[in-house]
Symmetry: C2
Subunit: 410 residues, 2 copies
């Protein structure tokens, strides 16, 4: 079933806010057998909003509206909906109690926020535990219209707790999905790796979702017979794993540093990092995880040659003879930071992030990533392109993937 | 003048790509006296695209279309435009030469990309130096229709080099804008600080554009008399500077690490960092700037107490007596990393990023930021909220702002 999303708010039209809601809603719907077919963004103006709703109601049976539910004078979505649906605002006591309990924590905002409990008479309230403005569900002429705040985490709360369960209960047949997290090769290389991908695209929907951290490969299996739906999913999963298992580092929407956090904590291992070209981005990602102080002891960012010598005791003649961007320096950086910190594992990066500093032998994008534990130390070379920030993203992701692979054997 | 943007692409509707183009185009237009009034997103389907164009042409005289210009079979925008405008595709030799020169760098892609040089007969080509697909400009019944690729950096290139200069030349009267980069206080605190903001909103358009790194405060002055337009802008600038100058760290769209890079390079100063709670994010931002190896010597991420002792020689009894999150430890971290590295400046962070680890005296969000040069050393305390990632963003931004302020006196 096709749907339209109407996102309301001047902030979306003047460059103040990027419309992330459209992407979230599109991704959620497709997993439940629905499909976003059009997104329309308009400002906080009555006639523009009405025109957009009017067009949506003509073209679609399922409509989502976000934004314009806040307590300030330019939030007019509720009033416009009352006009459009020929109804009036009434006080909802349950919402009022909720708004009052939140207002207690704030000051001088109660009056404004009481208006948040005024709800169009003909809708069902979708209670919002993530904020004061509730969501709304209208059913008019067999069309389902869902309205949520525009603030992303409030919209997501109402989607997750009210809208998606309802959509799931109404869906025809069965839908099962799986998302593989893949790194170490790009979208087109992955496509080639899967060879006859049509062998599974005739069974399931396949989408390649690329990002600087890798490719998410999503498969969606649908049908009226749940056993068959699951069989198609399993067949496709096996097809993908048979061809690309070495590049799959996880499933779902988790980040690799979370997976690593789980293993390090469980196995009671400590890690330290020695970074050059990634400049702290590697340790930053490791420490993004709450509780990382349990397994992350320290990191050094040895940007200058002197610092590689002084902080890591790498002899200057080794650096001079081989260059700072070399297999031996990367390997020694990982070894030394592990030894000095007394950690179980050392991880290192040294490369040329660019735009300058490249040579014909070591072009911009060259990087050595080093790994060391008590049994082995080594470094691996990669070429990660000439965009400095993308290089840092890819370098960090590759280092974390090396770490994850090694942790499996610990 | 009001405009509509039509963004074309299935990837925008299935959660694959976030629509950042709408935000960019909205922000650019407003600075040239135009205003994005509606954004419509549709998939790569002929009838959906035609319906969207048809509606746009009925409602607006200025229309932007992005996406669907690539070389793959689902990129159909050009063909649809030919049908809609009743014209045909012809080879553009200049574009062909450009496509061929790019194809030389790649392999096996020449055939597909030659199609990129086929252009609707009735449009003017907007040459694309950032990619192979050119932009297009149609003038039909006095309506201006601009078409660009959907890839953000290609769209931006065509906007900057072709579309914005044309819009500027066609604008009625004069427009001057200024954007102040502000950090250290939130949107509503800034609003309060400006007091009678209506005194300038009656002269110029004022927009608050908040982000985790601060607030961009944009003023736009318009009118038929350029002298008056400039006077209104200057009056508003003075009004803002009189009330908030201590929070303004820059103008335009530059990042603070770029401003700092300029000063450090010019004054030939070296800096080193000692981070605890920011976990490498501070050094990461400093090293995001090309050429940062000139002024960034090294960083340490002293996450454990032992590492603060071993890498920075901070006595364990000082850490034990005051806690790792304390004024003296922050100050010593900055001092010691400066001394050990032989840098001119040391910068440090130590705090509680959460979600756990807080106490009634030192709640989650507490941070000390330390600064040291040869004349002085100190640490300043902040409370930066209980969201771990936002905390790291804010902590880093505050550290860079302290550094920038100190660099002015060097």
């Amino acid at each position: 079933m096709l749907a339209e999303l109407i996102t309301i708010g001047d902030e979306l039209l003047i460059g103040q806010v990027i419309n992330t809601n459209a992407s979230y809603i599109g991704e959620q719907l497709i997993q439940y057998g629905y499909r976003l077919d059009r997104v329309t963004t308009v400002g906080d103006e009555k006639d523009k909003i009405i025109k957009a709703i009017d067009k949506a109601v003509k073209d679609y049976d399922l409509i989502f509206i976000t934004g314009g539910l806040g307590p300030t004078h330019d939030d007019i979505t509720k009033k416009v909906l009352c006009d459009y649906f020929n109804t009036e605002l009434i006080m909802d006591n349950e919402v009022l109690e909720h708004v009052k309990s939140i207002a207690k924590k704030w000051k001088n905002r109660l009056k404004l926020n009481e208006e948040q409990a005024m709800i169009p008479k003909n809708c069902r309230v979708l209670f919002n535990n993530a904020g004061t403005a509730p969501g709304m569900h209208f059913i008019i002429d067999n069309k389902n219209i869902f309205v949520t705040p525009g603030v992303p985490h409030e919209m997501k709360y109402i989607f997750e707790y009210h809208i998606l369960p309802l959509l799931k209960s109404k869906q025809d047949g069965f839908i099962h999905t799986k998302t593989f997290l893949i790194a170490g090769l790009g979208e087109s290389a992955l496509f080639d790796k899967l060879e006859n991908v049509t062998e599974i695209t005739k069974l399931v929907e396949v989408a390649f979702l690329p990002s600087p951290r890798g490719v998410r490969l999503r498969i969606i299996s649908k049908g009226s017979d749940e056993k068959e739906v699951l069989e198609k999913l399993q067949y496709s999963e096996k097809f993908i794993r048979d061809r690309a298992s070495e590049y799959i580092y996880g499933e779902g929407s988790i980040e690799i540093e979370e997976l690593i956090a789980g293993i390090l904590t469980e196995k009671k291992l400590k890690i330290s990092t020695a970074e050059s070209c990634t400049g702290g981005f590697l340790s930053n990602r490791i420490t993004n995880i709450p509780g990382s102080s349990v397994y992350f002891d320290r990191g050094v960012i040895t940007y200058s040659n002197e610092s590689k010598n002084e902080l890591l005791n790498i002899p200057m003649d080794i650096i001079t003879a081989n260059g700072a961007v070399s297999e031996i320096v990367a390997k020694m950086m990982a070894e030394k930071v592990r030894e000095i910190s007394g950690s179980d594992i050392g991880l290192s990066t040294t490369g040329i992030a660019g735009p300058s500093g490249g040579t014909p032998e070591k072009p911009v994008g060259t990087i050595w990533i080093g790994y060391s534990d008590k049994n082995k130390s080594y470094a691996k070379q990669f070429y990660l392109g000439d965009n400095r920030l993308v290089f840092k993203e890819r370098a960090t992701q590759n280092a974390l993937i090396i770490l994850q692979k090694e942790l499996k054997d610990f």
